[in-house]
C-alpha cells in the first residue's frame, strides 16, 4: 500500500498546513512526497520518541502532522510519547505504521506488529484505521487527515484476486452474501479468502464483513450485521493481531453488553511473536493458523 499512500499524501500536500515526519524510512517509496512537501517533509532521524513529541508540538501549532515508520517503531518504542504528549491532549497527530501484523515477515519479531491497535486503543481519544485493500488508501488518508483526534493508521499489503473489485471504502463493508455464518475481519487478511468464499454454495457461504475503523464505541456494528448475528448465532472473527485487546475481544464485549447471544464464537488471531523459525508473511500467518486453508475451515 506504500505506493497508494505516497500518491494520496501527495494529493494532500497542497494543504500548506501539512507536515510529514519520518523516522528515516521511505526509501524507494516516499521520495515523490519529499519532493512535493519540500521543507515540510522532515526526516526526524532514528529517534522515534522525539519524533512523536515533535509531531505533538507541531500539531499544537495547528499543523496537520503525519508521522511514519515501520509499525512497531512508531507505536511501541514511543508509547509514552503517544500517551502523554498526543493522546492526553487529544492532538490530531496521524501515526502511520507500515507493515501491520506479520507484514515484515522474515525480518523477524522485532518488526512484527501484532499488538498495535490493541495497545493504542487502551489510550484516550485514539482512533484506529485499518484499510483492507490498496483501493482504500486514498479514501482512508482523507478520513484520517480530517480526523480531529489522534489517529493510528495500520498499513499492510493489499492481497486480492486480480479480477476482484472491492466495494468503496467504508468503516463497515459487507463483502459476500450467503446463508452461512457471519465472519468479521479487519485488514488485508480478508482479501486472502474472498475468492474462496465467493466460490461456495450460497447455503454455506459466509457473510463476510470487513471493519476498518476502531474502537467500536465510535464505529458500532451496523444494524444489518447485528440482525445477521441474531439470526445465525455464529460468528468468526479474523485478525492478524493478538487476542488481547483485539477486534475479537472488543466484539465479544460489545455483543455481551448488548445482550446478543451466540452459539458459536471462533476467533482466528495471531498467536505469538516467537516461533522456532521465521518466514514470509504467508509463512508467519500459517504458524498462527491464519493461512487461507485454516481460515476457510473456520468460516464454514
Amino acid at each position: 500500500m506504500r505506493q497508494e499512500l505516497c500518491d494520496a499524501l501527495i494529493a494532500r500536500a497542497k494543504n500548506p498546513n501539512m507536515v510529514f515526519l519520518t523516522g528515516d524510512l521511505g526509501f524507494m517509496a516516499l521520495e515523490p512526497l519529499q519532493e512535493a512537501l519540500k521543507s515540510r517533509f522532515i526526516n526526524a532521524g532514528i529517534a522515534e520518541q522525539n519524533m512523536i513529541s515533535v509531531a505533538a508540538g507541531m500539531s499544537h501549532e495547528k499543523l496537520e502532522s503525519w508521522v511514519y515508520s515501520i509499525a512497531p517503531f512508531c507505536y511501541a518504542r514511543p508509547f509514552e510519547q503517544i500517551r502523554n504528549d498526543v493522546a492526553f491532549h487529544n492532538l490530531p497527530v496521524k501515526i502511520i505504521g507500515n507493515g501491520g501484523g506479520y507484514g515484515y515477515g522474515v525480518m523477524g519479531p522485532t518488526h512484527h506488529a501484532i499488538e498495535d491497535y490493541g495497545i493504542l486503543l487502551t489510550l484516550p481519544n485514539i482512533r484506529v484505521f485499518v484499510p483492507a485493500f490498496n483501493e482504500d488508501v486514498a479514501q482512508v488518508i482523507e478520513v484520517v487527515g480530517n480526523c480531529k483526534h489522534p489517529a493510528y493508521l495500520r498499513l499492510g499489503r493489499g492481497e486480492i484476486a486480480k479480477d476482484y473489485s472491492p466495494p468503496p471504502y467504508s468503516a463497515w463493508r459487507k463483502i459476500t452474501e450467503g446463508d452461512g455464518k457471519v465472519v468479521i475481519s479487519i485488514g488485508p487478511i480478508a482479501g486472502s479468502i474472498i475468492e474462496k468464499c465467493q466460490s461456495m454454495d450460497f447455503a454455506i457461504r459466509p457473510q463476510l464483513w470487513i471493519v476498518s475503523e476502531l474502537p467500536l464505541k465510535h464505529n458500532p456494528p451496523p444494524e444489518t450485521l447485528i440482525n445477521a448475528l441474531k439470526q445465525t448465532k455464529k460468528l468468526t472473527v479474523i485478525e492478524e493481531h493478538v487476542a488481547q485487546g483485539g477486534l475479537g475481544s472488543s466484539l465479544a464485549l460489545y455483543l455481551f453488553e448488548h445482550a446478543i447471544k451466540l452459539d458459536e464464537f471462533n476467533h482466528c488471531y495471531a498467536k505469538a511473536h516467537h516461533y522456532k523459525t521465521y518466514g514470509s508473511q504467508t509463512f508467519m500467518r500459517a504458524q498462527s493458523e491464519l493461512d487461507v486453508n485454516s481460515l476457510i475451515k473456520n468460516v464454514l
Binding site: 532521524g45 522525539n50 512523536i52 510519547q81 491532549h89
Partner: protein, 257 residues
C-alpha cells in the same frame, strides 16, 4: 517589565506557603528554578511565545509564576495538590491556557518544545519557545534525541534552560550517572551554550537576551532548596513536606536572603 526583588520574595514565600499548606514536597527543585521562571515570564515571554516546563515536578513554581502574573487566582492556588484541584503535582493536560502540555515524565518537554519551535517556523510566525529541563533529565535518551534534532535543524527560536542543581531523586547527578562537567559534555553540537548563575537575575537576563542563529542552551548553576538554609543541597528536600517549625524557619531564611 523588569522583575523586582519584592516580587521574587513574594513569590518565594507564596511557593513555600502553598507547599506547607498542602503538606507536599518537591520544594527543593521548585526553589532552584523559580527565579528563572519568574525572569522568563515577567521579562521575556510575550503573546507570540511559548513555554514548556519539562521538569514537571516543579509545577508549584510554574503555578506561582502564573499566579504572580494574575493567570492563576489566589483561590485556585489554595487548592494546590488537594482533591478536585486543577493544580496537580505536575502540570495538567488542560484547563490552564498558559500550560500547553502535561509533563512530569522526564524527557518529553525538550522534544515538545522542538515541535512548537518547528511549528512556528513552518507557519512563518514570530515567537520564541522556552523550555526548562532538570539536569537529571539529561539521563533520558529522548532528551538527547531532542538535542540532536534542535541542533540539526538550527532551531534558533528555541531556548532551553537546564536547572543544574546537581541533585536528583536518589543521589547527586555526579554519583548516579555522571555527566560532569555538564557544559563540556554538551559542547560540539551546533548549539550555543551559555553557563550562568541561575539565581542571579542579571546573569539570566543577559543570557536570555543573547542572539544566535542556533538553538540556545543555558546551563543554570542553581541550588536545590535555594534560600532556605536547611534545604540547600539536601536531597531529602526533593521529597519532604515541611512541618510548622520548618516552615517558619524557611520563611525567615527567605526574608533574610
Amino acid at each position: 517589565m523588569q522583575l523586582s526583588k519584592n516580587l521574587i520574595l513574594k513569590s518565594r514565600k507564596r511557593l513555600l506557603q502553598m507547599h506547607f499548606e498542602s503538606g507536599v514536597g518537591h520544594i527543593g527543585g521548585n526553589l532552584s528554578c523559580l527565579d528563572s521562571l519568574l525572569t522568563i515570564y515577567h521579562e521575556f515571554l510575550n503573546k507570540n511565545d511559548r513555554f514548556v516546563l519539562s521538569k514537571g515536578h516543579s509545577a508549584g513554581a510554574l503555578y506561582v509564576t502564573l499566579w504572580s502574573l494574575g493567570f492563576i487566582s489566589e483561590e485556585s492556588l489554595k487548592t494546590f495538590h488537594k482533591d478536585n484541584t486543577l493544580l496537580a503535582g505536575h502540570p495538567p493536560a488542560s484547563g490552564i491556557p498558559q500550560i500547553h502540555f502535561a509533563t512530569g515524565s522526564l524527557g518529553h518537554g525538550f522534544s515538545l518544545a522542538c515541535g512548537l519551535a518547528m511549528g512556528l517556523r513552518v507557519n512563518q510566525q514570530q515567537g520564541r519557545v522556552f523550555c526548562i529541563t532538570s539536569d537529571g533529565e539529561w539521563q533520558e535518551g529522548s532528551t538527547w534525541e531532542a538535542f540532536i534534532f534542535a541542533s540539526h535543524n538550527k532551531l534558533n527560536n528555541l531556548t532551553v534552560l537546564i536547572d543544574h542543581n546537581r541533585l536528583q531523586g536518589f543521589g547527586s547527578t555526579h554519583d548516579v550517572a555522571s555527566m560532569s562537567p555538564l557544559g563540556a559534555k554538551l559542547q560540539g553540537f551546533n548549539i550555543m551554550i551559555t553557563e550562568v548563575e541561575g539565581h542571579n537575575i542579571e546573569d539570566l537576563r543577559s543570557a536570555l537576551n543573547k542572539k544566535t542563529d542556533q538553538c540556545h542552551l543555558i546551563i543554570m548553576n542553581t541550588t536545590k532548596g535555594h534560600g532556605v538554609s536547611f534545604m540547600e543541597n539536601e536531597m531529602k528536600w526533593h521529597y519532604l513536606p515541611m512541618n510548622e517549625a520548618q516552615y517558619k524557619k524557611a520563611i525567615e531564611d527567605i526574608e533574610n536572603l
